[in-house]
Amino acid sequence: MKPKELIARRVAQEFHNGDFVNLGIGIPTLVANYLPEGVSITLHAENGFLGMGPAPEEGSEDPDIVNAGGQPSSILPGGASIDSATSFAIIRGGHLRATVLGALQVDEEGNLANWMIPGKMVSGMGGAMDLVVGARQVIIAMEHTAKGKPKILKKCTLPLTAVKEVDLIVTEMGVFDYRQGLTLREIGPDVSLDDIRGATEASFEVSNDLKPMLT
């Protein structure tokens, strides 16, 4: 299985029928493809609707419906159009069960950097800072390293998106949470603890109950 698919499959296991969830761009978007049998979730698009459906077929796009990446999207039956103030009331008000985002860096304290690389092209944080302080669970879905370099660090060096808000990290090498400090809870297929230690700068505990990664 490709790393991205593995990560998306594992994140999908977090959800229960009826959850309202915001999925970021990239690997997080893939999560919707791997929901377990019988689990249906409602996706929130922060630009203005609930009940996001799949991308429309070419030629049947509705220009009045785009997702938060500006790409053509669709609204499923039972969905709702909302204005931006309502959308961010949903976000900050703790009404989303979870947000799934990518990261440039995450650290031992649960700090997240995912919006800016100084000296590179200016992009902007969009809704990320609101999502990570507001959603009830913040799930980071990312590849474990970038060009061979660790992304789970002792301390983030890039400008932060939020302080101590990350709850769960899912990579192709394993699953970490912060319930008792940064702790490895599940280990990915075909990797050893030494592999993970070698690819991780942060110090982390290993759960006594370490399990193979759920997918």
């Binding site: 419906i65 959308s87 961010f88 900050r92 944080m125 969009g126 609101d130 400008p159 932060l160």
Partner: protein, 220 residues
């Protein structure tokens, strides 16, 4: 009370060089493309642009950036328009990047007569620099101040001649808040109908906020 119905060119003529202007829309979805084109034809200069984003190259408000009509920008995300990034890096464009929830709530506060609000978004980040922090019931919040403009330019699917506006699907976005927060509000509308033809329950921006309607075709 009927509002004035004017052309896109007349709308552009209302806006002087140097004006502070809010534009509705998210990546051009729900953005006022027709009035943007008129502003370009009129060759406006030194605008302060308040918009969620600067779109994709060649579409909507992106063209204001590309034509060097904007000297100051307040937005949440400009990453999909490389020309905006180029102008920022070349220091041709003054800019402020604002978390999206804070952006819309500052506009809402401006329109609602509030002196500001407290938000947890941005605490401990560069967004917090120079801002007061309040601890409320054990959690830190930033004081964010209201944001207003001289003009707001919006786009709606339907309006009656009293200026009541209905937005379709995901186009409501920032239009609703911006309608409340500018001295002069101009809305380009795909379908203008007679008073009485828009059910009051369908109205998302009541005409009390709206000064001018600009009829436009269904072009997207």
């Amino acid at each position: 009370m009927p509002v004035s119905i004017i052309s896109a060119k007349d709308a552009a003529d209302l806006i002087p060089d140097g004006a502070t202007v809010m534009f509705g829309g998210f990546m051009n979805c729900g953005g006022p493309k027709t009035v943007v084109d008129s502003l370009i034809e009129a060759g406006k200069k030194n605008l302060t642009l308040i918009c969620n984003d600067t779109g994709l190259p060649g579409v909507g408000v992106a063209k204001l950036i590309e034509n060097h009509m904007v000297s100051s920008l307040k937005a949440t995300h400009v990453g999909l328009n490389p020309e905006t990034g180029r102008q920022i890096n070349a220091q041709e464009l003054e800019f402020e990047l604002i978390p999206q929830g804070t952006f819309v709530e500052r506009i809402r506060a401006g329109g609602a007569g509030l002196g500001g609000f407290l938000t947890p978004s941005g605490v401990g980040t560069t967004v917090a620099e120079g801002k007061q922090v309040f601890n409320i019931l054990g959690r830190d919040y930033l004081l964010e101040l209201p944001l207003k403009a001289e003009f707001a330019i919006l786009r709606g699917n339907m309006a009656d001649k009293a200026g009541n506006i209905y937005y379709r699907r995901a186009t409501r976005n920032f239009n609703v808040a911006m309608a409340t927060a500018a001295d002069t509000v101009i809305a380009e509308i795909e379908n203008i109908v007679e008073i009485g033809e828009l059910d009051p329950d369908m109205v998302m921006t009541p005409g009390i906020f709206v000064d001018y309607l600009v009829p436009v075709g269904g072009e997207k």
